[in-house]
């Protein structure tokens, strides 16, 4: 309707009937941020002059990769007919690693725009989030984006969407976030189709935290969706999971800059600032109530974040260890899911064992450490959590191969499983099945989406997914396949720990827990890689892969025979001495494994080899 609402509803005094809370569900590069930008512009809350691309994604990494890690909520006025409404757009994280955050964002909404690229069709993650949205009883508005692209096939994908969610292809809206075509109609559709929030204004206040962001100037900014009652400035609030109380220093809405208000009422979405400095004091999913008149029952759905993937983080320069600790402590303030504890490695020195929600989370953290803190770090091959039962009936939780009990006294190893969904053009079904079988997957089912795309579901060990799976999937399907997975319990498996030995000394950073059938391949891979990477020494260096005491693969580095500069006369001495000093300096970066000098770079290169799961590209 009109680009500017005449009398926009005032926060804290808005009739819930005039509120629409919605989110946008979309795959990574399907144009969610561009569409959101266009909505900000069309509703007039961001002037054309201030418009900068992808306004809502705050972090550099997000903007560069086009992914949304942290959600935000924006209140936009919109006039439909004679009535002005308040539309709250809640921006959800788009990645499976953050599925819990996604679920909380969805729980804050009554409806969702299902946004799909008109040239690509729906992808696995979108499908997964769509399931979540339907589970939350959200009203779905299907939309095809990028209809301005020459490669767009709106008819084909409209049919695909209609098949998926019911209705007819004509119900699927067609927009272009880039040109703005169809966006006003879409906002009208939001008002028309998405139900208004319902709550009890007289009940004790209950607000669900759907995001919690650390801001270095203001401390933690907590984003909430009011369900019942009212929250006011200067009021004391209580977090229902911890019973901790804080005073509201500021309460307001994002428009999209933070704008203080006189409070928040039923159905409204806004933010709270209490002066706390750590996002752990303001946990996503928790319920906020007032300290004076507390609610008795928390809102459903809160869970603690659970790390799924572990990796050792080490500074490349050992003297950066204190800086790494400080950086992690700072990151923790804005990342409630990040956990870590000190760890030492023979090969890599002092570092931290850190737990992550998934591979992307791991990659984001390592990248932030490098970019925001200027730290050069190395991450060891990601590992999952194994439950190992020994013959004396003790159970050990193994997040690091070095904790794997040695000797022959293991009764059972249980590994985490995931239910993986892969979407791809039907031509790749055979290739994908082959890959999944080789990764010990069990097929659960297969369904056609539209005419030429297939969803294939597998039950697979998470350990297989963190090792290289996504790269393999992408390369075997020319980049067409998309992947989503969710935890699905655990299973007993014949897993062994493969150690890598240099001249008989174990190199802890390369130990890996793998299936017995794959131990040999891992051994050959790592010994071969190290042979290429470790410089020759004055003696021959055997490189072995072993399961316990049994050697399964072997390579050797031949002894270096010549290490002397042939000429050293009057004019060469300074240069020669400086070279020696440089070598001495270089030796400080060498790690000694027994008598073998290994350059740090060799460890790094071996750990980040092409075939390892560390290199997870954006999904």
């Amino acid at each position: 309707m009109s680009p500017r609402a005449a009398n926009p509803p005032v926060p804290a005094a808005t009739d819930p009937a005039l509120i629409r809370n919605f989110c946008i569900i979309a795959h990574i590069d399907h144009g969610k941020s561009t569409l959101a930008d266009r909505m900000l512009q069309i509703t007039g809350i961001v002037s054309d002059r201030d418009m900068r691309a992808q306004y809502l994604d705050r972090m550099d990494i997000e903007r560069e990769r086009g992914i949304t890690i942290k959600s935000q909520a924006v209140r936009m006025p919109w006039q439909a007919g004679d009535t002005s409404y308040a539309l709250n757009m809640i921006d959800t994280p788009g990645h499976v690693d953050f599925s819990y955050e996604v679920s909380r964002s969805l729980a804050a909404c009554e409806g969702a725009i299902l946004l799909v690229d008109a040239a690509q069709g729906i992808e696995a993650q979108t499908l997964a989030n769509l399931y979540l949205a339907l589970e939350n009883d959200l009203e779905i508005i299907p939309v095809l984006n990028k209809i301005d692209l020459p490669a767009a096939e709106p008819e084909k994908y409209a049919k695909e969407l209609a098949d998926l969610i019911g209705g007819t292809p004509d119900d699927v809206m067609r927009v272009s976030g880039k040109t703005g075509v169809g966006v006003e109609e879409l906002l009208d559709r939001v008002v028309e189709r998405i139900p208004a929030p319902v709550g009890n204004a007289d009940a004790p206040a209950r607000a669900m935290i759907f995001d919690s962001v650390y801001d270095s100037y203001r401390g933690v900014v907590t984003y909430v969706r009011m369900v019942d009652g009212h929250l006011n400035p200067r009021e004391r609030i209580q977090m229902m999971s911890t019973r901790a109380t804080h005073e509201i220093l500021e309460i307001g809405v994002s428009a999209p800059e933070p704008t203080p208000t006189k409070g928040l009422g039923v159905g409204e979405v806004g933010y709270l600032i209490t002066g706390v400095k750590d996002v752990r004091q303001s946990k996503v999913g928790d319920t906020v109530t007032t300290a004076s008149k507390s609610a008795t029952e928390a809102l459903a759905g809160y869970t603690e974040p659970l790390p799924m993937v572990f990796s050792g983080l080490y500074p490349i320069d050992g003297s950066d260890y204190p800086e790494l600790r400080e950086a992690l402590d700072k990151l923790k303030l804005s990342d409630a899911a990040l956990v870590y504890e000190p760890e030492t490695s023979v090969a890599l020195g002092f570092g931290f064992r850190a737990g992550f929600l998934g591979l992307l989370h791991l990659e984001i953290v390592t990248e932030r450490l490098q970019r925001e803190f200027g730290l050069e770090i190395i991450a060891t091959a990601p590992s999952v959590v194994y439950e190992v039962t020994t013959e004396d009936k003790k159970t050990v939780t193994v997040t690091n191969p070095s904790e794997f009990p040695t000797g022959g006294k293991i009764a059972e190893v249980r590994e985490p499983m995931v239910r993986a969904a892969i979407l791809a053009p039907k031509d790749y079904v055979g290739t994908i099945m082959e890959l999944c079988q080789s990764r010990r997957g069990t097929m659960l089912g297969m369904e056609y989406l539209g005419e030429d795309r297939v969803e294939i579901r597998y039950n697979m060990p998470l350990g297989e997914i963190v090792f290289d799976f996504f790269d393999q999937l992408k390369s075997k399907t020319a980049g067409y396949a998309s992947l989503d997975y969710e935890p699905s319990g655990d299973q007993a498996a014949d897993l062994v720990k493969v150690d890598i030995l240099l001249q008989g000394e174990q190199v802890d950073a390369f130990s890996a827990i793998v299936h017995r059938d794959k131990a040999y391949a891992y051994g050959v891979l790592m010994t071969g890689r190290l042979r290429e990477l470790i410089p020759r020494q004055q003696f021959e260096v055997p490189i072995q892969a072993a399961i316990g005491a049994r050697i399964i693969a072997r390579e050797s580095i031949r002894a270096m025979r010549k290490d002397v500069l042939a000429k050293c006369y009057g004019g060469d001495i300074t240069r020669k001495r400086k070279l020696l000093e440089k070598q001495k300096e270089g030796k400080k970066r060498m790690k000694m494994v027994g008598r073998v000098e290994v350059p740090q770079e060799a460890f790094i290169a071996a750990l980040s080899g092409d075939t390892e799961g560390k290199e997870v590209k954006k999904k």
């Binding site: 003696f539 025979r561 290490d563 050293c568 001495i573 240069r575």
Partner: protein, 408 residues
């Protein structure tokens, strides 16, 4: 000499040395190095400070001896003014470049300036490098008459395809001729060989060694080819036109040289140098390895006096300008502190047969000795007697030995 100058502090315009340079000077031998920075062509492997006619930017080869003589006169004044005692030159060495591109008379005049300035010690060793195709019978006789005692020919190889890969223009047949002329003139003879040239086989190398030994020189140097950045050879290797020399093949070649030379009665006295008898060792070069004093004359030349090392302006034109203006041609220097001098002492003495006194080493160095014996890098018997001398394996791994001796 590698051509890039090191980074150091600026050298004073008057060239004066700090007082520390004269400490212990009477115990150190004094030598003079004269650099002649001219070549007819630049060889593909060479990054020495040398220039062909087209690269001289106004500097003139005919004026060079006069400029060098200016510096020799200045050096005499500087040493005196800096409190150094009078010391005659024990050795004089003309290197390049191609010293024999200058008329023999120029070389003799330069030597005369050294004699006038410092005096020559009795029995002084006076060497010039010579290119087999730029030196004649008369030149060699004139040099001997002028006081030269020794000539070192850049033979490099006896195998045409190896010489071609090195861009060497001389005919291998010329070696017996020039050696005979030098003998006739009464000069000691040394031959230089290079191994590890791309395309050179172990058999090629054997042929060169046998050919060189057949000339019965008093002294032989064999150098593994060093691929220096910025040379034509480095570019050819980078582009894949030539194969990079292999360390393993070079080790085989070194061992072959050591076998053949030992069998022919030559004894190694430095990693890359052999002589028929101690009296035929290059005393000038031993001065470098023993940390003695020397004055390096000419563009880019390095000098060392009592822990002060300096280097001259690199280009002959810049050099000539400074010397003509009466300024020191030195452009940079370093004052070596005690730990640095010790590092150099170990790194240089390790290379030579007379070796290092175990008792002179630091605690860390002494601690390394047992391991060096165990790894067959130093001679066990000599080490037990208190001297570290490299084994053949140790010579091939000399840089690693030095690192171990200098470990903290």
């Amino acid at each position: 000499m590698g051509s890039a100058l090191p980074l150091g502090e600026p050298a004073p315009l008057d060239g004066l040395l700090p007082a520390s340079a004269s400490v212990g000077a009477r115990e150190r031998a004094f030598g003079v190095y004269l650099h002649v920075p001219f070549c007819r062509v630049r060889c593909g492997y060479c990054d020495f400070n040398t220039y062909t006619a087209g690269e001289l930017r106004g500097a003139r080869q005919v004026d060079y001896a006069d400029h060098a003589i200016d510096e020799i006169r200045m050096s005499r004044r500087v040493l005196e003014a800096s409190g150094l005692p009078d010391r005659p030159a024990v050795t004089v060495f003309f290197g390049g470049g191609t010293p024999t591109l200058l008329p023999a008379d120029d070389l003799v005049r330069m030597l005369g300036a050294v004699r006038d300035g410092f005096g020559l010690a009795p029995g002084a060793e006076v060497t010039t490098e010579a290119n087999p195709d730029s030196v004649g019978r008369d030149d060699l006789r004139r040099l001997a008459d002028g006081g030269f005692t020794r000539v070192s020919f850049g033979m490099q190889s006896a195998v045409p395809h190896v010489l071609a890969a090195l861009d060497r223009t001389h005919d291998p047949e010329r070696i017996p001729l020039v050696v005979a002329w030098a003998r006739d003139a009464g000069l000691d003879v040394s031959l230089d060989l290079i191994y590890g040239t791309p395309g050179e086989s172990l058999a090629d190398w054997r042929r060169s060694l046998e050919s060189a030994i057949g000339e019965r020189p008093d002294h032989l140097s064999t150098y593994a080819l060093i691929v220096e950045d910025g040379t034509k050879l480095a570019r050819q290797i980078r582009r894949g036109e030539l194969a990079e020399p292999s360390d393993d093949l070079e080790a085989d070649m070194y061992e072959l040289a050591d076998d053949l030379l030992a069998a022919a009665g030559y004894q190694w006295y430095e990693v890359s140098n052999w002589a028929t008898a101690p009296g035929h060792r290059s005393r000038h070069n031993l001065g470098y390895w023993r940390g003695d004093d020397w004055w390096g004359v000419g563009p880019g030349a390095h000098s060392h006096v009592g822990g002060v090392r300096w280097w001259n302006a690199k280009h002959p034109a810049a050099y000539a300008e400074r010397v003509t203006a009466g300024l020191s041609p030195a452009v940079g220097r370093e004052l070596l502190d005690e730990p640095t001098r010790e590092t150099e002492r170990v790194l240089l003495l390790t290379r030579i047969r007379e070796g290092i006194d175990v008792r002179s080493l630091s605690g860390g160095g002494r601690h390394a000795v047992a391991g060096l014996i165990a790894d067959d890098l130093v001679d066990a018997k000599a080490a037990l007697a208190g001297v570290l001398t490299l084994t053949r394996r140790g010579r091939l791994l000399a840089d690693a030995v030095v690192r171990r001796l200098l470990e903290d």
